[in-house]
Symmetry: C2
Subunit: 153 residues, 2 copies
DNA sequence: CATAACTCGTTAGCACTGCTAAGCATTCCC
DNA sequence: GGGAATGCTTAGCAGTGCTAACGAGTTATG
């Protein structure tokens, strides 16, 4: 049994402790990041994520986007519809399969995601610059692991 | 200008790239974690966080909880009210300041948070066990940094 | 070849959780 | 004592996740 008031340092040595610590840190940071929206021309975190995927990987189907973002299809439909209304993406038919919808970045969407990303990440980049090189290295190391964890069953 | 399809590896070398990568990883993992709720006796992530704080630090005021969780006071009022209805915390008066409300964990709340936490972190702990010791070390290193970042201005 | 079963995306509706604005009680300061 | 500041609450709104149920298209089976 754990003692009365375990410190962060002590608790984080076990796997369960690391899990709890990681959960709290991820939760808080994501909440903090969500606040960092610019009054004009801003996109939600979910919209940003989708545009980022399309920028990086090219055309994708709704289902692919949903699986990668760990979201149910209806949620992705809504996000894509919103992006389409904004003119940042277009829906198109699949070459061979009439059921699937292919989502592609428009030129305007490409411009917007690049501009918005640099503004949006500005806050976080500034915070990162305040860290020691060691700490930045730790995050550089951890970032892909977090993403991989999110894709686990 | 960035080339057509930057890989994760390439993009993560710059601070802005790290920011973007970290943002996406944090977002996805938090979404994944939110899914990991047990059908019975479960608490939301926000409720868990509050109970965890009370367990670790003892009695706290609404305002303190709100600041630590990076949430506005009305949001914390709602969370605490919900926990109070469940019988997991009690509101009490402050010793000297009649404005503030002191929140304390009940014995039942203490039991619940310990039980629920171990169940809730089970999934994440299992995933952590699948990582290499190196990767776990990286996360152990990164976890407190994530939390500190969330508290930055 | 017809039909049943499955897959993909959508629509409809709900729940949770964050916010701001506004109000009340209390405390602090001149 | 009276006005400003602080702490919490209430009321109402927005964003974003979910499930259930449905239509269209594809695949498998009899």
């Amino acid at each position: 049994m754990v003692s009365d008031m375990p410190t962060t340092e002590a608790v984080v040595r076990t796997d369960a402790g690391l899990a709890a610590e990681l959960r709290v840190g991820v939760m808080r940071l994501r909440r903090r990041l969500a606040l960092e929206r610019h009054p004009e021309n801003d996109l939600s975190l979910g919209q940003m994520a989708v545009l980022g995927l399309l920028l990086r990987r090219g055309e994708m189907t709704i289902g692919q986007l949903a699986r990668l973002e760990r979201v149910q299809p209806p949620s992705m439909t809504r996000t894509v519809s919103c992006l389409e209304e904004l003119g940042h993406v277009v829906r198109g038919p699949h070459e061979t399969d009439g059921r699937v919808v292919v989502v592609a970045l428009t030129e305007r969407g490409r411009e917007v995601v690049l501009a918005d990303r640099s503004r949006r990440d500005a806050w976080l980049a500034v915070q990162l610059a305040h860290l020691t090189p060691d700490e930045r290295a730790a995050l550089r190391r951890a970032a892909p692991i977090l993403d991989r964890l999110s894709q686990a069953d």
